[in-house]
């Protein structure tokens, strides 16, 4: 077990020097150096593909570098597996959580290291006791015997952190830990991080969110295109300076303002209910309008979107599209009424990861002119997809590249393109820029604004306050399955939304 006594004199826990790593055809990291001090929170930022994940994975022993060295507490280490990294006090908490859903919290934390009794069998009492002690240390209130699948994402993440600490880790690597958390859960996470810091642990923190790093980071390092750009204290930098370091260009912080020229009501809902997910939802959506839906995670926003798109059926309530009452009981029905739905989870419900960009783009539009007697008119479809891909600025070597090799932002553009090919009148966008880098985010915002200017109606769910406030013409706030208010853009601000969302 690493002991604090072996600490290097200058308080430096981890020193990374001249790391390089190439994958076939790509240089992911190019001569990167970095120092992480003991008891500090060190944020790592950069656009998607800047090399953050590669650097993290090298430090966590998942990848081995092609060149360069890692020094831990002053001594050079060679980490060839995550297990070795753990033994050296480095634990990584991945963006996708790695817990076993059907096992208890305690079993998940101590898997492979269960305490045994005199007979050599697992001692469940001791297991619970240790878990309780560990969770108390972090001020996490979770029953050690709860099955993990019954817990929220936020709580699962806390269990991951607890598991990392159970190894007596000195350095915790967190890869975008707040991407699936609500603001309140994120606050709790920050409290835990501060607690860890007080206990002398170091945290290496990847994020896309600027606000976070001003809140918790002691130092921030920027990577761009696999190169190290610089390290600074967030106190010495403005947000714009940081963004400039990340993208290497000026980037306006503002949102594209879609002119508010609302036309006729295209979608209206009254008394939509699907217990226990949402109750008595009513709203009108006009052409040329973005209706933002704000709320905490668990407010029923995504469930409402799924019901509107016919993936689930509301148990009661009525929906009208362009004045005609409709039954939206399947995605096919929703699509035939000109609706499109980009879900919040790109990997689980959006992309066909094993298929090409082309196949991902074309799948929703294989009808009408693009199909003759069941045969896909390959050339026409390919041309339409190529044109769409170009107009969205999808960065890919060609349309036959597997979509899993694209960055998150480009995947998201492909998913938007899939639906834009169907020329939708109503777009439901659930977290349209989650896990997308700053540059692609701005492009997606511009695209949404352009669509709305051309007369589309957009229902946009977002957990990011700036996005909701910056993009929406009106904001519908939900809390525990009910609409608690609809705010006009002019009267809306962060405080009012939070009051309605968290009351």
């Amino acid at each position: 077990m690493p002991s604090p006594a072996r600490n290097a004199p200058d308080g430096c826990l981890l020193q990374v020097s001249h790391l390089s790593k190439a994958f076939p055809g790509v240089v992911a990291l190019d001569d990167v150096s970095l120092r992480v001090g003991r008891g500090t929170v060190h944020a790592l930022i950069g656009e998607n593909g800047a090399g953050k994940s590669t650097l993290m994975k090298i430090i966590a022993g998942i990848y081995t570098p092609d060149a360069g060295e890692l020094r831990l507490r002053g001594a050079a280490v060679h980490l060839s597996s995550p297990r070795q990294a753990l033994q050296n006090g480095i634990a990584m908490i991945h963006q996708e959580l790695n817990l076993m859903p059907f096992m208890s919290v305690a079993e998940n934390i101590w898997i492979g290291r269960e305490p045994v009794n005199a007979c050599g069998l697992i001692s469940h009492r001791e297991l619970r006791r240790r878990t309780r002690a560990l969770l108390e240390r972090l001020a996490i209130d979770i029953d050690p015997q709860a099955e993990v699948r019954t817990l929220s994402i936020a709580r699962r993440q806390m269990i991951e952190i607890a598991r990392a600490l159970s190894h007596e880790s000195e350095l915790l690597i967190m890869d975008e830990p707040t991407s699936a958390l609500t603001e309140r859960d994120a606050e709790h996470l920050f409290a835990i991080i501060r607690e860890l810091q007080a206990q002398g642990k170091s945290v290496l923190y990847i994020t896309h969110k600027m606000d976070e790093l001003f809140e918790i980071a002691d130092e921030v390092s920027v990577l761009r295109d696999g190169r190290y750009i610089g390290t600074a204290s967030p106190l010495d930098l403005t947000r714009d300076e940081l963004i400039r370091m990340m993208v290497g260009r000026e980037l306006s912080q503002g949102f594209p303002s879609a002119p508010a020229r609302p036309g006729a009501v295209v979608l209206s809902a009254r008394d939509l209910t699907l217990a226990p997910q949402f109750y008595d939802i009513g709203f009108d959506l006009r052409a040329g309008e973005i209706l933002g839906i704000a709320g905490l995670i668990g407010a029923g926003r995504s469930q409402l979107a799924e019901a509107l798109f016919g993936l689930t059926r509301a148990s009661s309530g009525r929906v009208w599209i362009q004045g005609c009452e409709v039954k939206l009981d399947s995605p096919q029905a929703a699509r035939s009424h000109g609706m499109a739905f980009v879900t919040e989870d790109r990997k689980d419900t959006g992309c066909f990861l094993r298929l090409s960009v082309l196949e991902n783009l074309q799948i929703a539009v294989l009808e009408g002119d693009f199909v003759r007697c069941g045969f896909v008119r390959g050339r026409a479809v390919t041309q339409a997809c190529a044109a769409m891909s170009r107009s969205l600025g999808v960065k890919t070597p060609d349309l036959h590249e597997r979509i899993e090799n694209l960055s998150g932002g480009n995947q998201q553009k492909v998913l938007l393109g899939r639906w834009l090919l169907t020329r939708p009148k109503i777009l439901i966008l659930d977290e349209p820029t989650r896990g997308v880098d700053v540059g692609a985010k701005a492009e997606i915002h511009q695209l949404i604004a352009r669509l709305v200017a051309e007369g589309a109606a957009v229902l946009m769910i977002s957990s990011e306050m700036p996005e909701i406030l910056g993009m929406s013409h009106r904001i519908m706030v939900m809390h525990e399955g009910r609409v608690t208010g609809i705010l006009e853009r002019e009267q809306a601000d962060q405080v009012k939304i939070m009051e309605l969302a968290a009351r």
């Binding site: 790593k21 994958f23 055809g25 992911a28 993936l311 298929l355 196949e359 069941g374 036959h400 090799n405």
Partner: protein
């Protein structure tokens, strides 16, 4: 995002990039390598050529044609992320039903004494219908219940074998018409195999049916949200697979000029093996008919190669097992190499 990708955007005029060898190339090399190995061993051990013997080549393809017909259907099921264990039993049921309607009037123990000497179309249509019905049962179970395809088709597999035995209480059905026997004569089964392979190769690559099949296998949730009627499509795919098993049953009984309840034993596993050797991924979304055809031929080469060298059938099975496992291991390496990114 890798830098190399970041620099370029899509060019519509040159959509197809030079992507090196097609995915079947590696498995084709295995086929050629195996054939040459037997050729070499042939000269050393029995002083004969393995390949330069037209009759042997025909027999070689002939004996795997039935497996190949089934494998064409199973490949499509595997692409959707499913599996079909019922094929072998469906072969038996269709063989029994089709043979019972194909008996000639001089049959002593006709199943339907009043229905002898029917035109050949009758047993064929009946056989295909039985296969389609079994496939429909598979598809409906998979699409409308939450039981995994493995269990659903396992149930149909056991029941279908039972139906095949119950149908004539275990008695074989013989004395079939000449027109029916012609279906299995000479190289006709080979033609049927290659014909179905061609049809479904085209269907998978160039039709909406094919695009939807791959999409469902790659991500059923995303497919549903994209507006694909996933349940209905799965039923179609399983029904096609069942119908092809029925076709295989017709060919089997025509070749043997009889229907027996024990026919098609373990065929489902050979067919799955052919698809997997040919590159189909059991996790769905990946697989091609061309690969499956090559996989089928590999099974044929191994079988006739061992017979040719007069080596015991025991060794043949041992080697076949090793080839199946090796193919999947090689496949996983290929995917891992292609999938890893920064």
């Amino acid at each position: 995002m890798p830098q190399a990708l970041a620099q370029r955007t899509v060019d519509a005029r040159a959509p197809r990039r030079a992507r090196g060898l097609p995915p079947e190339a590696s498995i084709l090399m295995v086929l050629i390598g195996l054939a040459l190995t037997f050729e070499l061993l042939g000269w050393i051990l029995v002083r004969q050529s393995f390949l330069l013997n037209e009759q042997r080549l025909v027999v070689m393809i002939l004996q795997v044609s039935v497996i190949g017909i089934i494998a064409v259907g199973v490949t499509q099921v595997i692409i959707t992320g499913g599996i079909d264990l019922s094929s072998g039993s469906v072969v038996a049921v269709t063989a029994m039903v089709a043979a019972s309607l194909a008996q000639s009037s001089d049959a002593v123990r006709a199943v339907y004494p009043s229905l002898t000497d029917l035109p050949v179309l009758a047993p064929v249509m009946a056989g295909l219908a039985v296969g389609a019905a079994a496939g429909l049962a598979n598809g409906a179970l998979v699409a409308y219940t939450s039981i995994p395809p493995f269990i659903a088709t396992l149930g149909v597999m056991v029941s279908a074998r039972g139906i095949a035995r119950w149908y004539t209480h275990g008695q074989p059905v013989s004395m079939l018409t000449d027109a029916y026997a012609d279906i299995g004569a000479g190289a006709v089964p080979v033609m049927i195999f290659l014909g179905t392979a061609l049809i479904f190769h085209i269907a998978l690559r160039y039709t909406r049916y094919g695009k939807f099949t791959y999409a469902i296998g790659a991500n059923p949730q995303a497919a549903r949200i994209s507006g694909i009627n996933v349940a209905r499509h799965l039923i179609v795919v399983y029904t096609i697979a069942g119908t092809l098993s029925g076709l295989a049953g017709i060919v089997t009984s025509a070749r043997a000029v009889s229907g027996q309840a024990g026919m098609g034993m373990m065929y489902e596993l050979d067919a799955i093996a052919a698809a997997v050797i040919g590159g189909a991924s059991l996790s769905g979304g990946i697989g091609r008919i061309t690969g499956t055809v090559i996989g089928t031929l590999i099974l044929g080469v191994v079988t006739s190669g061992f017979t040719f060298l007069r080596i015991d059938a025991y060794y043949q099975e041992i080697v076949k097992g090793a080839i199946i496992v090796a193919a999947v291991i090689a496949d996983q390496y290929r995917h891992r190499a292609g999938g890893r990114r920064a």
